[in-house]
């Protein structure tokens, strides 16, 4: 005998019979992965500022909003597809879908509606090249990374990381209407940063990924090989950090900041590489993971400070 309240309350015994739409506003907000979105907004904002040319402030605002909503839509689609493995990992078990606050179908349609809406609005407000780029990014994250790579290869975040690296390029395209080589330098900073960032996390969340059956590098190749990869990728990041200067979109202020910030990143990666056992061996990846988040914000922040410094210099010179 079914109870009507079972049909409309979240966490109903028979999920197929629930009507959905019963989650709190906070649950729908959580579907957008707001912390990831904040990074997307910030890096996209930097792309808007650094791109040559002018954009109306309102168009800039709407472009940022669309890129943020598009990123949020990708997050919702990811949470719909990954609900089964999210439920098995401590880090993700409290997400709205595995918690039962939001029906899987709701997350899917929520993500699809936001995807279409953000792409259409970006096309109307900025240009259709940027809109197509945003659509491709959502597809790349939801289909290429989430549905294909994540469960099939330990290189998942190496390739999938591209989705998180596109936002400053999309913002750049909102201003210029084209995809320029110079904007690729912003893409590459995030692209090269992603593997050491996620592998540091995967090192101290190995158990979670093992339980969920996600083939992260530490689970497939071992912790030692992952520490080696973190070190080599961090070294490879160093020349990439210099690209904005080589492409002429940033100057001396950025160069100084990038040198110090990347130097510290390499120092933390060296600790992860060298100290593998004991308390220090466990602590290294956590320190690197925490610093990597600060690093990316600071690197893109440095491009803004550099641009402001250049404007001041030109005003008074």
């Amino acid at each position: 005998m079914s109870d009507a309240s079972d049909m409309i309350r979240p966490n109903a015994a028979a999920p197929g019979l629930t009507l959905g739409g019963q989650g709190a506003v906070e649950d729908y907000w959580a579907l957008l992965k707001p912390r990831v979105m904040s990074l997307v907004i910030f890096t996209a904002f930097c792309g808007l500022i650094l791109a040559p040319g002018h954009i109306h402030p309102w168009t800039a605002f709407v472009s940022l909003l669309c890129i943020a909503v598009g990123a949020g839509a990708s997050g919702a689609l990811n949470m719909w597809y990954d609900a089964d493995i999210d439920a098995q990992m401590s880090r993700t078990a409290k997400r709205p879908v595995p918690r039962g606050a939001i029906e899987p179908g709701e997350a899917l349609y929520f993500g699809l509606v936001l995807s279409v809406g953000s792409v259409a609005m970006l096309g109307l407000a900025a240009n259709w090249t940027a809109a197509a780029f945003l659509a491709f990014t959502i597809f790349f994250y939801a289909v290429v990374y989430t549905a294909w790579l994540k469960r099939s290869t330990p290189q998942n975040i190496v390739i999938g990381g591209a989705a998180g690296a596109f936002p400053p390029m999309i913002a750049w395209t909102c201003v210029t209407g084209t995809i320029d080589f110079a904007s690729v330098s912003l893409f590459l900073i995030i692209f090269m940063w992603t593997p050491p960032h996620f592998w540091a996390l995967a090192l101290f969340k190995m158990g979670d990924y093992e339980t969920a059956g996600v083939p992260m590098l530490p689970n497939v190749a071992g912790a030692g090989a992952t520490r080696n990869q973190i070190w080599w990728y961090s070294l490879a990041m160093a020349p990439v950090a210099a690209l904005p200067v080589l492409f002429g979109i940033s100057g001396i202020v950025y160069a100084l900041a990038a040198t110090v910030l990347t130097g510290l990143f390499i120092k933390h990666a060296w600790t992860v590489y060298r100290v593998r056992d004991g308390k220090q061996g466990e602590r290294g990846p956590k320190v690197l993971f925490g610093y990597s988040i600060i690093y990316l914000f600071a690197m893109f922040g440095a491009t803004l400070v550099d641009r402001a410094a250049m404007a001041l210099w030109q005003a008074f010179a």
Partner: protein, 57 residues
């Protein structure tokens, strides 16, 4: 076993708990705010695009 018609009737006569009612009210307000913001967004964007300023370049 309940029939489809009985289920519909049960849903229609179901009284939400105070917690469910509060959640529903917050959702309704959020949807209203988002719809108003969307209207404003499209309206201002149209004005800006028609203005032929840098945005239309």
């Amino acid at each position: 076993m309940t029939t489809g018609a009985t289920r519909v009737q049960e849903i229609e006569t179901y009284t939400p708990t105070p917690e469910e009612a509060a959640r529903r009210r917050k959702r309704s307000i959020a949807i209203a705010v988002i719809l108003l913001a969307l209207m404003l967004l499209v309206f201002v964007t149209t004005i800006v695009r028609l203005g032929g300023g840098p945005a239309g370049a």
